[in-house]
Assembly symmetry: C2
Homo-oligomer: 243 residues x 2
DNA sequence: AACACAGCAGTTGTCCTACAACTCGCGGCT
DNA sequence: AGCCGCGAGTTGTAGGACAACTGCTGTGTT
């Protein structure tokens, strides 16, 4: 079947929010400084004030800017620390590269097999359904910073995509088959290297942070269940918490 | 909505967002179901559509609802799992009680002393400024689930509040002296019990999750720096990640 | 000189009306 | 039965207007 892709047009407000985010992270507006007023942004982007405000509100709830009634919109100042945190759903490789490091992914294995009980509970699959399990290592500047197991219901993945799965971002593949995850529910745990089934020997004495998460697509269906083990100290986990 | 005129200082949109949040969490709208349309909500709350939309967008970025163009606003369904996650800034005791447990806090010590280098870097204090350091244990159902050290610049805390500090939520005290934190930047680390300076002996063999965080008030000034060590397994850490 | 305060320009918050874009189900048509 | 188009309902965007708030500035008083 041809990938007809119903345009899936990105709303204007979202485009603007993403552009402003990019400009802020790129340093075009320094931390603590005031952004152009809504009226000026309308002028710049050629959109209505409603749209600019929607975008601004979005950035505010992401914690990037602070909107003060009667005063203006200010870039939140965290003393130069990283702004991109766990609360935002992005691929690991993307995050690594935004930190200025070189991200690589090595696929250790890919198998189609029965889902285990845990996977069945998180994904929405029957007992006899298969899953595609991808085991990968994520490297930052040629150093292993994490290992992961991603499980995707086999019915969602055409066999032709098997080759591409795991050689890069899983997100990219899911995107291509129209299953972009828009939400993820993640549990955080601390584990010993010796307790990680998929880890190499040399991390047996290390501590790791386990991100145990389920990804959901726009319609609320689970599309992937993954366990990612990050080596403590090699990867900075930041969460921006807002009220 | 109650007609209690919640201090005209709180923007309407925010009041409505909080009310809708409360109603959703209370189960008035079941997961997956559609909320009233914007027009109906306008009618209900007696506000304009802009205001309702602002509130709705806020809930969407909190991950509570999903707004679909041309279709409606739906309560996000996570299969009954907890909605309140780390990405929301709330006191630990509050979170524990929302989980249906009995939260208690025991103050181990309170001292006024010089800030160490780490604290100086995170808080905005001079070399000769003092801080108030509070060491506490957090209990859920009479079991210690976390220990914490909170550091607050001494100039912010009147000596008269020393007594109240640490016997309950630090938030409550900060609130009272007009320094409500609205944002926090948290780092997550995995640590061994034996590496935690303030822990009891019996956790030496346990793993802990360290939440290393700085709290900021509305004007962006740091008001508190805290390290909280959670015993792995006794406390569920969830993050809702959105795109 | 120092201080209090009213005024003013600029900015965000809310309201109104109208239309565009999208979703989904209903009913007619092939 | 299956396809198609239409229309009602819903969210997205536009533009204009006024209210509420902030920070500064200049004025008047002490």
């Amino acid at each position: 079947m041809p990938s007809s892709t119903q345009t899936a047009r990105t709303p204007l407000a979202r485009q603007i929010a993403e552009d402003l985010r990019r400009r802020i992270v790129a340093g075009e507006f320094s931390p603590g400084s005031r952004l152009p007023s809504e009226a000026e942004l309308c002028e710049h982007y050629r959109v209505s004030r409603v749209t600019v405000r929607t975008a601004a509100k979005s950035l505010e709830s992401q914690g990037l800017v602070d909107i003060r009634h009667g005063s203006g919109m200010f870039v939140v100042d965290f003393g130069g620390q990283i702004r991109s945190g766990l609360q935002e759903l992005r691929s690991i490789t993307e995050t690594i590269e935004e930190l200025g490091l070189n991200a690589k992914v090595r696929r250790v294995s890919l198998t189609r097999r029965q889902a285990d009980e845990n996977e069945r509970a998180h994904l929405d699959v029957n007992d006899d359904d298969e899953i595609v399990a991808v085991h990968r290592e994520i490297l930052a500047d040629d150093e292993v910073v994490a290992v992961s197991i991603d499980a995707i219901p086999a019915r969602l993945v055409p066999a032709s995509e098997d080759a591409s799965l795991g050689n890069g971002s899983v997100f990219a593949v899911l995107d291509r088959i129209g299953l972009t995850p828009v939400r993820a529910l993640a549990e955080i745990h601390a584990v010993r290297g010796s307790d990680v089934p998929i880890a190499e020997d040399h991390v047996a004495d290390e501590l790791l942070i386990l991100l145990d998460q389920v990804h959901y697509d726009r319609s609320g269906d689970p599309v992937a269940y993954s366990k990612t083990y990050f080596v403590e100290g090699r990867f900075q986990f930041v969460i921006l918490r807002t009220r």
